[in-house]
Symmetry: C2
Subunit: 421 residues, 2 copies
């Protein structure tokens, strides 16, 4: 067991006798037991010899962290390596990658210490990233926000296993509900199209392409050796294959959190519930401008709410529970809206600065959310208290955002994915 991951670990280094308390071996050939996986992090000049040792030891799975191949113009070296791997039926993640992480099993081959890169808790979003540093920054940010993740795969140059293989693998992974991908190029177009089409029918796949512009594509060559190709072609392929394309990393994970946590809505009719008038107005504008519909609740719902609410509460869309709203007023409003079939999605804009909102608000909302009648999405803006509520809501499976614009745009993309008119 190492860092909570249950495995026997054998450090290999010709100059050491022990590494962090483990007996060190001069080569894999010096180990008496069978080896399932070797992680190689030696200078490029020594990779070939190390791989040859693995061949002799009949190790079939490798992660090669080492760089110094296509990304610096050394295509020959990478081709030579690939030949040996393919010939011996060895599967490799890498070369030129950061390593991988599984939040459920705690398998962790990333070479960045936890003091710099906090590992996210278990969740159901998996992230395939051609770029290691980008992936590391995002994992660190996700952990900071207390969001969960399933598997993180940094694959660098895709020497032998490529993005399509990872996509295919994650499609059958029980702990993966949503797949996020950052790619610079695709290794094998036909293979990618075939697999992406199949996978996107099973699970949402959100994709961000690096190197869309001419200058970006040029930069990609010196990064992972990828030929970024014509973006117009990529765009068409993503669309044909049912992948959800996003234009930034924050868009990607905002949408992923909604798809991870909510059920499919019946339509695009959104009801806004708020305790802040201005937020209600901005929410209403945003819903209208993002091709969503403002729900019109049944007269019965309206009358029931009016009967139970103080006279100054405005029961329309938005429902404005006004400045002296308490948890119970939110409870009542959300409860009635979950039961109204004219409402498909509930967008709760919660401003917890007003004194009558208590910490219990997250329980109130999560109990109604547990009925799984329709997606409930929350915007909660503010400082320490707001972030605490946000964190509690997230841990109870309710997507919660800092800003209205982030929430509504993600709802729009969700409806597009589900092809809801």
């Amino acid at each position: 067991m190492i860092n909570n991951y249950k495995a026997k670990v054998y450090p290999i280094n010709p100059h050491e006798e022990q590494i962090i308390g483990y007996k060190c071996y001069s080569s894999v050939l010096a180990i008496n037991e069978d080896i399932e996986l070797a992680i190689i992090a030696v200078p490029a000049a020594h990779v070939l010899q190390t791989v040859n040792d693995c061949v002799k030891k009949k190790i079939k799975n490798l992660i090669i962290i080492s760089s110094g191949y296509s990304e610096i113009g050394n295509k020959k070296g990478e081709e030579e390596l690939k030949k040996i791997l393919d010939k011996n039926n060895i599967k490799v993640i890498g070369v030129n990658c950061l390593g991988n992480y599984d939040a459920h099993t705690k398998f962790d081959s990333m070479f960045i210490p936890t003091s710099r890169l906090k590992r996210p808790k278990p969740g159901y979003i998996s992230f395939i990233s051609q770029s290691g540093a980008l992936g590391a920054a995002i994992l660190d940010l996700l952990a900071f926000n207390d969001y969960g993740i399933s598997k993180f795969i940094s694959y660098g140059n895709a020497t032998n296993l490529d993005e399509s293989d990872y996509l295919s693998y994650l499609s059958t992974d029980q702990n993966t509900k949503v797949i996020c991908m950052y790619i610079e190029g695709v290794k094998d177009g036909n293979k990618f199209m075939k697999i992406a089409k199949e996978v996107s029918l099973k699970k949402p796949v959100i994709i961000l392409k690096g190197g869309k512009t001419e200058s970006g594509a040029k930069a990609a060559i010196s990064h992972t050796g990828s030929l970024a190709g014509s973006y117009e072609v990529y765009k068409a392929v993503f669309n044909q294959c049912g992948l959800i394309e996003v234009s930034s990393l924050n868009e990607m994970f905002n949408l992923a959190r909604i798809l991870e946590n909510t059920i499919k809505p019946k339509g695009r009719k959104v009801q806004i519930i708020t305790n802040g008038g201005g937020y209600g107005i901005l929410g209403t504008d945003s819903v209208s401008l993002n091709n969503l519909k403002l729900a019109e609740m049944y007269l019965r719902t309206k009358n029931e709410l009016k009967n139970k609410m103080p006279p100054l509460v405005s029961v329309n869309n938005p429902i404005d529970l006004i400045g002296d709203a308490n948890d119970e007023r939110f409870n009542l409003a959300i409860d009635k809206c979950t039961k109204d079939n004219n409402i498909d999605i509930i967008l709760t804009l919660l401003l917890p600065q007003t004194p009558l909102i208590t910490e219990n608000i997250s329980d109130v909302i999560s109990k109604l959310n547990d009925l799984k009648k329709k997606p409930i999405i929350v915007v909660c803006t503010g400082g320490v208290f707001a972030q605490k509520i946000k964190s509690e809501l997230e841990s109870k499976g309710i997507p919660c955002f800092n800003f209205i614009s982030e929430a509504v745009y993600s709802i729009k993309k969700m409806c597009e994915y589900y092809k809801i008119d």
Copy 2:
């Protein structure tokens, strides 16, 4: 002195003898000294009597927190109140407002306790908000992120002083460099146009309009009694008056932080410096897609950098300092770029997960930024360590963002404001 604000305070309440240790008076008329400002927070039914007392006491400045006027259809009540105010030459902030805050003097009339709404530290952005709750949430979030503010004015129904008056006031305020406004409607179109045109020549004014859509406009009526009017007309007015329109609150404050802190760039040629290849590519794409130009550094700069950098560092645009970058490599790259006249703006994409970046990086960047040769804008993504660096950079006057998309979009808007081709 109350809450660090230097003032004599007289609580008024007919039923109390003391309030938080201060002697309580039955009416303003019972006070022997002259009064500069009265803050009125009584039920609407008692406002008129209270204002009449203030008239008798010759108080010329009021903040009226009380609601119950146009926003609930009581136009008559508000007109009656306005008549008395105008006749006696009394200036009022409100009715139906949250109160106001000045981070420099510590004047604070907001009725939400600091346990729920943390007050931001002193800074140079002022925020005029027709909506109180929206303003409160944003202030709380700004304080949480350790951003500063100058004055916050929540003005509600604009019974007698309106948005144009506040704009005019802030244009001459020494502690205000950037003005942010959230409005639902404009009280007097001609007055607004005249003042806005003048002010926007002196200081950047960033504006967000609530009630752009038909449904949003309907919601605005029951919020602040505003007739939101045709958005097309507003849009044209904002444009004619040189106001910078944004479409969300995060856009507003992202841009405000750049305008508050950086100098005007000479052009729109952006140089990207990063230690993460994928981030460099996304940054390059983003710069190209946002109508900015990728700088092409002088050959001399390129050669100087190449001579001092390890061979794997890519000296182009982006400059990729690669995974083993240390603080000194950033120092060298930013220093050379500040001296290259072919570069107008430096966008530093910093991924502090890699172990050779230390806490000193914020000092390194801020020393170069202090030379004020060109705008330096930073993206720093990640958890605790990244947020610490971000916070230190911000406190040293360097705008720092979590995501590339936020930074580049704000740079684009800055260039639009400065009319840079």
